[in-house]
Amino acid sequence: MSTAISELRTISTGDAIREGLTEVAIKNPSVIFFAEGVADPSSVYGTIAGLSKHIGKERIIEMPVAENALTGVAIGAAMVGKRPVLSFHRVEFALLAMEQIVNNAAKAHYISRGRHRVPLVIRLVVGRGWGQGPEHSQSLETMFALVPGLKVVMPTYPRDAKGMAVAAVEDDNPVIMIEHRWCHYARGQVPSGYYAEALDGPRAVHEGKDLTIVSSSYMTLEAVRAAEQLEKLGYSATVFDLRVVRPLILDRVFASVARTGRLMTVDTGFRKFGIGAEIVSETVVNCYDALKAAPVRIGLPDHPTPSSRGLIPGIYPDAARILREAGTELCVDQDRIEAAVAELEVQRKGLPIDVPDPFFKGPF
């Protein structure tokens, strides 16, 4: 944290991102914004609302529905000194812009032998619930993480999200910031004023000694919930919020696995070829002798995500599944695990499967 904290308030991750982007735009006149409906009544779920009260209208650019070109326009502006922030309402719209992202944003610095810089932030929102369906709910972080030259971050908690948004804009590289829609609703204590959170890798958000869980974005909230239940059974897990997918810095995870001997990964995206695959692979290579059990990966099944709430039970990982898998990993008596899972279900109070759980309130 770079500056003094003046005040802590409890706000949502979505509002925290808006605060961070507003603060950095006020501080740095090079910051410009692009979005479809950049100043409409919604302003990307409120995350860029009210900018015109603080900065000139020429810096708030309405984006025609032309994702590839406007991404290229932002890259071109970045190459000559601007710090553009592009916001897409869903990850899937960025697929139209992959050519510009992969060929120009990720490579301009490299090809030019450092002459060009592309200080660009591309915000992508992962949808979930209320029947989003197969093309409004994809968590495709590994598609971006595959490409050297890009940074990929996935903030979860409000305080982190504000600081990471600021850090992403301050960064001289293209940063893909993937925001889970359900994280937008999570509330927690957030400092007012300007601060940046370093994009320096995973952060332990829950401490334990028997199991290391590495989860990303919204899945961290579920993993922490599972870890809390696990403690009632006399076991404990360290939960890392991954935060930064690329560059993937796993030193803290290796150190934890060296102590616990057990690793679980929980992705918001697909299990196969997911972040978990890379984390497990790196961890096995680095911590082979310390492992007491085979690592376990949790993620989405190997098919698209349908719209109907009748079709989605079992698709999204949740605290119950994480708890069951942890139980297997730690050889906990199955009846005890099922009792803890039943307790989780009572806590949900019959909430439908396709709406966010208000459990995720701060302070985090």
Partner: protein, 326 residues
């Protein structure tokens, strides 16, 4: 060569020298390519020099150019240095970008040659972004996107044109129509209509000129640059021209049959350099002996630059992992 960009209208002599220099450089590349020391794909502009020179001579040094895989002529016309260009094509550390891009990525930001991107139409929105930044900053600059006839088939061209026109950005969209995308003629790729009409729905100024008449290209480009610079919006420029040699490589390929020898000879007879020379000769402004002397000087400079590039060291392998992140 001295600075290739000037603020006043250049003389015909100057235009001739610019084109001749580019021609000699590329003919030397073609002649020496078989030595297999230039080990990267090359896309020569031989026959198309008038478009590069006519446009760039209408620009100011601070104006910015974005190009494609076929970027040699644009690079040189915008004032890019020859030695770093050749060293880049030879894959040497002294290359303009240290051997990271080769022939298709020629870059010289100090001269306003910002980027060359070999994916069709990919650099067009970069030029628009540069113009947007200038608009926000109130800078008195024009950004130029050079591209070929196939680029107007790409969605990103139309997306860029729409945005530039909407915001009246100072961009010149320069379409060098050389009639072929690799081996495929225009008629197999686009409906029969003048290329200039491609942007009729984007509400922008359109100018076209004979792409082999450098003076006509210059006149159109001066008008376009003035229009864009004065805040009236982007201009789409169409210059019909012809690539003499194969799409990629140093050879002639008319024997393949995708175009006729007769068509080639017709365009060859309209060589932009010879056309300008004839015009100067007919008005009594061509000193053959002087031009011969200039050409010999140019060739010596070019040969020296080739020798420099050939002899220069390769980059160290450790450099390959540098500059991934700023």
């Amino acid at each position: 060569m001295t600075d290739l960009t000037v603020s006043q209208t250049p003389t015909a002599q100057k235009l001739l020298h610019e084109m001749l220099f580019i021609r000699l450089v590329e003919e030397t590349i073609a002649a020496r390519y078989a030595e297999q020391e230039m080990r990267c794909p090359i896309h020569l502009s031989v026959g198309q020099e008038a478009a590069a020179v006519g446009v760039c001579q209408a620009l100011r040094p601070a104006d910015r150019v974005f190009s494609t895989h076929r970027c040699h002529a644009h690079y040189l016309a915008k004032g890019g240095d020859l030695r770093p260009m050749l060293a880049e094509i030879y894959g040497k550390a002294a290359g303009c970008i240290g051997g990271r891009g080769g022939s298709m990525h020629l870059t010289d930001p100090e001269k306003g040659m910002i980027a060359s991107v070999p994916i069709v139409a990919s650099s067009i929105p970069l030029a628009v972004g540069s113009a947007l930044a200038d608009r926000i900053d109130g800078a008195d600059r024009v950004s130029v996107a050079f591209f070929g006839d196939a680029s107007v088939e790409e969605g990103v061209f139309h997306e860029s044109a729409n945005f530039a026109s909407l915001n009246k950005l100072p961009v010149l969209f320069v379409c060098e129509n050389n009639l072929y995308s690799v081996y495929t003629p225009l008629a197999q790729r686009q409906p029969a209509r003048p290329l200039a009409e491609v942007v009729s729905g984007h509400a922008m100024k359109v100018l076209s000129a004979d792409g082999n008449d450098v003076e006509a290209v210059l006149r159109a480009s001066l008008e376009a640059a003035e229009h864009a610079r004065s805040g009236k919006g982007p201009v789409f420029l169409v210059f019909n021209t012809y690539r003499w040699r194969e799409h990629c490589g140093p050879n002639f390929d008319n024997q393949l049959g995708y175009r006729t020898e007769a068509e080639y000879l017709e365009w060859r007879a309209r060589d932009p350099i010879e056309c300008l020379k004839s015009k100067l000769a007919s008005s009594g402004d061509l000193d053959e002996r002087d031009l011969q002397k200039t050409q010999e000087e140019m060739q010596r400079e070019i040969d020296d630059a080739f020798e420099f590039a050939r002899a220069a060291p390769l980059p160290d392998p450790s450099q390959a992992s540098q500059f991934v992140y700023a």
